[in-house]
């Protein structure tokens, strides 16, 4: 309450009437909101920021405890690291490409179907999305291994005489990861395709463009932002993917995350493992930042769309 009192019917020239009480009230309000947020923020800080920051710190020291850049220099000097990076990016590009090739037609079909049919088809996208990565990786192991479904069918049909090696190698990793990451591309792409105004397409056809020209000149350009966000998410997730390459790579396909696990668990070289993590995070954030800068969209959009 204020001690200054204004007399009725008298204009008060003082423009700071009660500001102290009002500011205190505003501060109380802010503190209340922070109190609501603080448990969550504290947890995130303790479990993400502190450990990740700690790893960054570790990555700056070599085995003798001296400050050095040797953990990072290793990436260029040792062929095995270079090979890991090459493998990782190769997988990421191929999987992202495969997701685009499969995901775009699927999302396009979903966006063109009547609402009811689309929502039924969407179940087939969302269910795998929420099924454990382990379960899906296991399924692909069963399907692709030497004595697995594909090979036994093909041999029974007489197409091949020797089993193809589909699992425990590069192709197994790519197939498994494509399957797991496909919904991450389809869902944001479908959501963005749904927002394309049908009147735009009608207008295009009205102006004499055929179905193909309408698609190429109107629909496709309008769907690009959704496609871009799906591509970025899939690519970024590929870079740090662990479960599928670890189980389906047969020890031959060493990707970035596996390398981190091996360096820290197997060799207990925390500095080197941490340096790998730092670079991985930097690349991830750079890609997301670049995407956000180009399109101004929220990179976490896919999570709210499921």
């Amino acid at each position: 309450m204020s001690t200054q009192s204004a007399l009725p019917n008298e204009t008060v020239a003082d423009r700071t009437l009660n500001t102290r009480a009002l500011r205190a009230d505003a501060r109380r309000e802010e503190l209340r909101l922070l109190a609501l947020l603080s448990p969550s923020l504290l947890l995130v800080f303790a479990i993400i920021i502190v450990p990740v920051g700690w790893l960054f710190w570790l990555s700056l020291f070599d085995e003798t405890g001296a400050l050095s850049a040797s953990n990072y220099a290793r990436f260029f000097e040792q062929a095995s690291y270079v090979k890991t990076f090459v493998t990782t990016f190769k997988v990421a590009f191929i999987v992202t490409g495969a997701c685009v090739l499969l995901g775009y037609p699927l999302a396009y079909m979903l966006s063109q179907l009547p609402r009811r049919a689309a929502s039924i088809c969407l179940i087939f996208v969302i269910l795998p999305f929420w099924t454990s990565v382990l379960v899906r990786t296991y399924a692909w192991l069963v399907i692709l291994q030497r004595k697995g479904l594909i090979n036994s069918w093909l041999i029974d049909l007489g197409v091949i005489s020797q089993p193809l090696s589909l699992a425990n190698n590069f192709s197994g990793v790519v197939i498994g990861m494509t399957h797991i990451l496909l919904p991450f591309l389809v869902l944001p792409l479908y959501a963005s395709m749904k927002t394309i105004d049908t009147d735009c397409l009608r207008a295009g056809m009205n102006l004499g463009a055929g179905p193909v020209a309408t698609f190429r000149q109107i629909f496709f350009p309008l769907s690009l932002p959704g496609l871009a966000s799906g591509v970025v998410i899939v690519f970024v997730l590929c870079l740090g993917f662990f479960v599928t390459p670890a189980l389906m790579g047969g020890g031959k396909v060493i990707m970035w995350a596996m390398r981190m696990e091996q360096t820290t668990s197997l060799y207990s070289n925390w500095g080197a493992g941490a340096a790998l993590g730092v670079v991985l995070l930097a690349v991830t954030l750079a890609l997301l930042g670049l995407f956000q800068w180009l399109l101004g969209a929220r990179a976490t959009g896919v999570w709210s769309s499921r």
């Binding site: 309450m1 204020s2 200054q4 009192s5 204004a6 009725p8 019917n9 204009t11 008060v12 020239a13 003082d14 423009r15 700071t16 009437l17 009660n18 500001t19 009480a21 009002l22 205190a24 009230d25 505003a26 309000e29």
Partner: protein, 363 residues
């Protein structure tokens, strides 16, 4: 006008209210007194600060500075639930998970009123808004008008000191809106609670209010009774916002008012030397036949542009010699319409000295 002032009605006194959102100054040094039991309307275009002021009054928005006293108690930093102010929102904000009775009983429940008394008061409130017997209805089973009444009953059932309404009728269609205006007005007369009403509809404001505060760009331009606002607007903004207006640029010099080289007869003495705008209401203009003009009538020569027949009345658009448009409106009684010159013909427009209104020219 005699108001039955309820003993619970309290006056509101707002002083030096300041509100900024970031760098935008929404309210500037705003002062306003609402009398006990008065129906006061905040009228203004969107962005004028009227809703912000109402939200500050209700306690949902915090002012940067200022004082609000209700019956002498400072409430500017009081949380909304301790202000004892009833509120009706534009979208009614009825609680969809409760039936009509529970919606209305909500405030009584918060105050720990006994079940029996609650039931009686809810019943009384329902009767008052002509919804008796609908207490068990779900909110989504109600029509727009009925929802509006429930929102109103909910806001008055706990006999608040003050009732605030934020464009409560804007979601209704025209016929229902006009009907509700009259009903709201009658209810206010019956209960006599201090009411602050926000609208952008000048006709609604004129119909319902004891006084109207016309707001523009975070200030109150004029606070007056509706008749005064219409007949004696103090600024160009008020004249333009309330009713239809023609503006004619005039000049005050040598103790007289001049339009170009023609002296304008005014009822009031000429104001201080300078440029002014003469506000001409369309219904105060009339056709003057040659040589007929009396002493206290100003005659403006113009050319008829178009005449539009509207059934009970007609509108004549005419242009003065400098090209300025004037609008004349009159009822189609007698041979008034028949006497009007054809489009393209000259016309003499008469304006009584007592109908001349001068406002300062803005900009």
């Amino acid at each position: 006008m005699i108001l039955s002032i309820a003993p619970s009605a309290l006056p509101i006194s707002m002083r030096a209210i300041e509100k900024r959102f970031g760098s935008v100054h929404v309210l500037r040094d705003l002062n306003l007194d609402v009398e006990a039991g008065e129906f006061l309307t905040l009228l203004g275009p969107s962005g004028s600060g009227k809703t912000t002021l109402l939200m500050i009054l209700a306690g949902f928005t915090r002012a940067n500075a200022g004082s609000i006293k209700v019956g002498g108690d400072e409430i500017i930093a009081t949380p909304p639930h301790r202000r004892n102010i009833g509120m009706v929102f534009q979208n009614y904000a009825l609680f969809p998970h409760m039936n009509v009775s529970h919606n209305i009983a909500f405030a009584l429940k918060q105050r720990g009123v006994a079940a029996k008394e609650t039931a009686e008061r809810v019943e009384k409130a329902l009767e008052m808004v002509k919804l008796a017997g609908l207490g068990e209805r779900r909110v989504d089973q109600l029509s727009g008008g009925q929802r509006q009444r429930v929102a109103l009953a909910r806001a008055i059932v706990f006999e608040p000191r003050i009732v605030l309404m934020d464009e409560p009728l804007s979601a209704l269609d025209k016929g229902l809106r006009e009907h509700m205006q009259i009903e709201l007005r009658a209810l206010h007369r019956r209960l006599g609670m201090t009411t602050v009403y926000v609208t952008h509809d000048q006709r609604e404001a004129i119909t319902m209010s004891d006084r109207i505060a016309v707001m523009n760009a975070g200030r109150i331009e004029q606070l007056d009774r509706p008749e005064t606002l219409y007949s004696a607007p103090k600024t160009q903004f008020v004249a333009g916002f309330i009713g239809e207006s023609n503006f004619v640029p005039v000049e005050s010099r040598d103790g007289s008012v001049w339009y170009e080289d023609r002296k304008i007869r005014t009822a009031a003495p000429a104001p201080a030397a300078g440029r002014y705008l003469m506000v001409v209401r369309p219904e105060t203009l009339r056709l003057v036949e040659n040589g007929e003009a009396a002493d206290n009538v100003n005659v403006l020569s113009a050319t008829v542009g178009d005449i539009i027949y509207q059934g009970d009345s007609f509108v004549c658009y005419a242009s003065l010699r400098d090209g300025r448009q004037l609008t004349l409106r009159d009822y189609c009684r007698g041979d008034v319409l028949a006497k009007m010159p054809a489009p393209g013909q000259p016309i003499n427009l008469g304006l009584d000295a007592k109908d001349t209104i001068l406002v300062a020219a803005e900009g």
